[in-house]
Symmetry: C2
Subunit: 459 residues, 2 copies
């Protein structure tokens, strides 16, 4: 047993510390089956234990990487053999729900789906929703500022977090468990821990804002004859539906065919011949009237020639089928290797940009597979791209996708973060002074650089 492991056992108990096969038998991440490399995994149960562990590591300049559900897609929690992993998996308690204040206080290791379900038991909604809901954690959501399907209505994780408790690199506990929507008493320091990928501190607990549980949930699939109709459909639906529009998920023909053709489970609710589709959802307060409202809005969109065809889910089963289609992203793994992208850009540039990516791929690779979908209402597109059997194509595919973002101020990461994977491309989206300021923060909060070292930008 190493001295580090012995000291960790002293702090957190022997059942808290994993070594050897208990480490290497864990997969690095979703869709990445290789085993974790690390000195040990420590699994504290309290903020105080996290503090003691970080103090120990700080004294020894021991690197520490926080682990949540390991569902990130940018190598943001990757480790090397000399690293210590601090897993929040045993800090999985929902501490309280306040029905009147509409807040939930919980530990960072709580699964997103557990938080959603607990809110629902109180007639409330925790609106964050992403495909990884069953295995990702609240702490991971905070560290990556997770987005997902309902950002257009409820914002990203940043917009839902009222308070955090975090531990700094040197073990200092910064408890800032604000429970109010508004609190301008000094700098809002919790922002330091949201979306900073575990580089400035480790979040151990949080207070999140809940909403009233919608009484209606209406879902439609709409087809259009060109991309340029999509922003017009978005504006039309958004205005018509008032504040109830909760999702606007665009699928290009390539993606739509993929997820509605065997071996995919779902069949196409609308013909496969349109160039573009959008899954629209509204969540409101009155089931009957909200459905009529959605149908009226769609009828007007069809009348005006914005949409070519549309179908409204007639019941919960149909709604789940529509979403199962949109969520069946794993169909892309019919191709291997498959590279996944998460970019954002201004909506007016979107059509031209997608064309440029396609042209770049054609020019560089000739034959390739490109699937395009995304949260268009947020300016967020996802690509899944296969360019042959050679893993080494990854860098060239990256250039095909990222370089056209540079002149239009687009982002190489809308919601997935940077991690190691996008670090070489950060300069596409951030200028030198922005990165220098990030470095200033890192130096101020973690001068020894022990927290998630090497992620996001070069030290």
């Amino acid at each position: 047993m190493s001295q580090l492991v012995a000291d960790l056992v002293d702090i957190a108990g022997s059942d808290a510390v994993l070594t050897g096969e208990d480490v290497s038998s864990r997969a690095v991440g979703i869709w990445r089956p290789q085993g974790i490399q690390a000195h040990a995994i420590v699994r504290p149960r309290t903020t105080e234990e996290v503090s003691a562990i970080l103090k120990l590591c700080h004294d020894r300049s021991q690197t520490v990487i926080a682990h949540g559900g390991r569902t990130g897609l940018v190598e943001g929690a990757d480790t090397v053999q000399s690293d210590l992993i601090l897993s929040l998996e045993r800090m999985n308690q929902i501490e309280s729900v306040d029905d009147v204040n509409r807040t939930m206080t919980l530990q960072a290791g709580v699964l997103l789906q557990a938080a959603q379900e607990e809110a629902e038991r109180h007639g409330l909604l925790y609106p964050l929703d992403i495909g990884a809901r069953g295995s990702c954690t609240i702490g991971g959501n905070i560290a990556t500022n997770a987005g997902g399907n309902r950002v257009i209505r409820y914002g990203m994780t940043r917009d839902m977090v009222l308070g955090t408790e975090a531990v700094l690199a040197d073990g200092t506990i910064v408890s800032s468990m604000n429970e109010m929507i508004k609190n301008n008493a000094g700098y809002d320091i919790k922002q330091l821990f949201i979306g900073t990928e575990g580089c400035l501190g480790i979040v151990t607990r949080a207070v999140v804002r809940l909403r009233e549980l919608p009484r209606s949930q209406e879902t439609a699939l709409v087809a259009a004859d060109s991309f340029e109709k999509m922003p017009l459909i978005l504006k039309h639906m958004d205005a018509y539906l008032g504040g109830t529009l909760s999702a606007f998920e665009v699928m290009w023909n390539d993606f739509y065919r993929l997820v509605t053709t065997p071996p995919a489970k779902q069949r196409p609710p609308l013909e496969q011949s349109y160039p573009i589709y959008v899954l629209i959802e509204a969540m409101g307060g009155d089931q009957e009237n909200d459905k009529v409202r959605l149908e009226d809005a769609l009828a007007e969109a069809l009348d005006k020639g914005l949409a070519k065809d549309a179908t409204v889910a007639q019941n919960g089963d149909q709604r789940r089928q529509f979403w199962a289609m949109r969520d069946d992203v794993e169909q892309i793994f019919q191709y291997d290797p498959m590279f996944i992208y998460d970019v954002s850009l201004q909506v007016p540039y979107m059509e031209r940009y997608v064309g440029e990516v396609r042209d770049n791929l054609k020019r560089r690779f000739g034959h390739h597979q490109l699937f395009t979908f995304g949260h268009m209402g947020d300016g967020n597109l996802h690509f899944a791209i296969s360019a042959g059997k050679d893993e080494s194509a990854h860098h060239d595919v990256n250039l095909c996708v990222y370089e056209p973002l540079r002149p239009i101020g687009g982002s190489v990461s809308a919601e997935h973060g940077v991690g190691l994977e996008k670090k070489p491309y950060l300069d596409v989206s951030r200028n030198d002074t922005e990165v220098k300021l990030m470095r200033t923060l890192k130096s101020a909060l973690d001068p020894k650089g022990i927290l998630n070292p090497g992620k996001v930008f070069a030290a």
Copy 2:
């Protein structure tokens, strides 16, 4: 002419620099007619000029205080004779509006109302709305993370700002003019400039998010027989109205009487005998149906015994009268001196807390005037308190209001900020490690302490 003034003239031109009476003839702030004390006011026209000015000041350790519309209420932009004021008043250009991307790019000196009106000309909404709209600036809104009447629906300024351009203490321009709703490419450094009261940098330009202009705006005044009904009315209306609820402004009887009794201009739309009232607004997509929806929701609230009486504005004039009543805060100046508060706390504690404040005032002062109102949906209460003619009562009144917040985790500033006024009470709401982390940020970004020195917390 001092050397500083000569150098400022070199940078920005002689018409950019004000001294002597041109400085002292300006009022310190709204409701504070005394003249400004400062070495000079410099009024740059570009970010580059701001950068050159700050570089000059940094080299000389010259203190700099940014001025927007001077409508802040916490002495957050106060100066002393040796300070330089950097006013953004000539950086008042709206640079562009993108109707499809639904964003506006503008300089920091643009008036809030000008931004609102420009958005409206494009069929869009800039949802931030506060009483000072006609004189406050976008830059001031950002520096103070302004809130206002529609936070419950659209969030605070933080939630509307997509990008900023800011100048650091040493003159470094940090241009981070992101135009997307989602951008997780590295730390979100604009958060450093939002709500930090000009202490970490001076914002010169911004990109803000716009929304579709609501097609309906329905307003109701509702009376209840006890405070405890209010959170229930909020939950009921919020759930019933789906996503359209846009304001929930509570008025205690003391405030309601004040603003519906001469010399106030408005007459009471509902009897003055109820202990508590709420102004409710919904903004939606369908004028006719949204009005019916609001009326149905109110009918149910009356049926259930949540509300005792209610009236819906029948047209735009009535709606404006309802709001004129709520906004007629200046009636409090029938009493002088009058102290104004802006606290936030968890909704379930609100009734007991207001009682404690009342008891504290009675015990300490005997006769006093207390007016209570606020954005209850956000946990935000305002008090206006008069405790006799003696200005020196201010500190004791502060203690009556702030001390009961300490055990319940309330905030001494929901939306006004800290400035100088609330600095002595920051410890009610923030613990030592939170303030220490604020100090770490201040030291990292402004090591010489030249930006808005002495504000928010002690150096």
